[in-house]
Amino acid sequence: MSQTIEETLLAKRESGKKSLVVYLTGGLDEHFEATVEEVSASGADVIEIGIPFSDPVMDGPTIQRANDMALTSGATPVSILDRVKQVESPTPLAVMTYYNIAASMGVERFASLLARSRVSGCILPDLPLEEVEPWANAADEEEVETILLAAPTAPDERLPIICERSRGFIYGVGLLGVTGVRQELASSAIEISTRLKKVTNLPVLVGVGIGTPDQAVEASRASDGVVVGSAVVERMLEGGGPERVGALVKEFRTALDEATF
């Protein structure tokens, strides 16, 4: 197997650069595989593939809409992972979905399916520390990295415990709210990154509410990089194909690479 997510992001940090993780809704349209490849070529360090769930409580209108479109067109976890297997890209992949998708398949089977589909990591936003153990153990067994979220609401003593159990990177939730593009970067994005950097050596990435290259640069001042979701999914929903999605990713990449930190 190629590099893990953690190795990839640590290497990036050592090179003095900021990381860019890009979220795409899985199985959204016929361009899915090509879009993943284009996003990879445009400079994403890790690509998150969203597996749609019927009740995505952490997601705002944009990702909900993409979710519904993918589900309506008949996408299933199995069909999406089958397509992921066809993707040719050196970029490590993670899956983002909700716990019931894993639970209904059985956590061991789901972990093994991810591993066989060349997926390196997994994010389950409705599976908090208190409930994560059965899944995380199954994922460890298959060498799938379980990426945990850390939110602005967490008291100080909770953060190191979350970081301890997280693999790949620690996902700092940038604001109080669900996914979606906002006018301005929330001050909580800087705060959560700063608090996390104090307690962990894992790469600290901040996501939720990072909608523009400028916001990505600003958020990266306190973190090792960003996760960009809704802005990219909005591009996918506009149509225009993989090239236009890739062009947006390049804007983020360039902004991060050219900024001085």
Binding site: V57, N100, I101, S104, P128, E131, P155, V173
Partner: protein, 395 residues
Amino acid sequence: MSLGEINGLRDPDESGRFGEFGGRFVPETLIPACLDLEKSFKEAWADKEFRSRLDQLLSEYAGRPSPLTECPNLSKELGCRVLLKREDLNHTGSHKINNVLGQALLAQRMGKTRLLAETGAGQHGVATATAAALLGMECCVYMGEVDIERQELNVFRMRLLGAEVRTALSGSRTLKDAINEAMRDWVATVEESHYCLGSVMGPHPYPWMVRTFHEVLGKEAREQSEERLGTVPDLVVACVGGGSNAIGIFSGFADSSAELVGVEPSGGAAVGRGVPGVVHGSRSFLLQDEFGQVLEAESISAGLDYPGVGPEHSHLADSGRARYESVTDEEVIEAFQLLSRMEGIIPALEPAHALAWVSRERESLEGKTVLINLSGRGDKDVGQMMEVLEVDDGK
């Protein structure tokens, strides 16, 4: 059922589990709020002053205790002795007020200024708007677009009470989606908002806390039964959406010989036809497809139109202490009219499910004493039923 199997309801374990059901499956952002709520609830419940303030509101404001009513005409018709626990006579017209007054007082004690709620039939939304008006709190209620249409009277009531009603436009546009929207709001406003969940579902401590606030109705019903019958009824029957009115009345009889029956709509029979799954914060029986996507329920009753069920009911079903049956919309429409004509009591469509089951099973219930939880009154449903019945009459 053998007497050896009888036991009372237990509290959940540390992780919020009843047997293998329950838990705390919510975004990390909400975990501190859930932990805080659990702690605050335990403290409040142990605090005499809090309890007496709640008791006072329940009696002076909500009108408790609610009566136990004999149904002589219906009993004659069905061949079994039917008694009703009259939660329809509470202020705001349903059992929902018990839980809401408890949660609203608790929220205020925790320094929250805004109550957030989901509603299906609108009864929980009305109760929450009522408590918010009483306590001077802000109130926002999410309701599915389909439910806004079929329960428009309650939408107006909520607005009259000063609440903001927001339309849930996603998915099936019913209760399930109203809960999704309420949770998304809560993720964004958790610092000032208390999520006043309307049933025994959601993440720990909700299923346990909401049950505790409804135990008052079970306790009353037990005392009233002992007084009236000198014993407990043979059966205790309640409708089950999330399961709050059912768990309330079951709690009064779980340690007795009474048989406990929960009645689900056939189009939303989570216990009857579901398999364990995780949505809206807990693990419980759930209608879902082979990939774990939650299915849409389908019921004439907005309050029961939900693909899941509270985790303690899954546990009671698993352990065999309660059993769960289902009835069709047609049977419910019959029962709605039956109670109206026989006893002069118009039930809400939700408890009409419990009546419908008793009516259908009359032969096997012959000679028995049956206590039904009449969880709400039917005023909110007359508009919808007027249309249904006129179509039936061919007008």
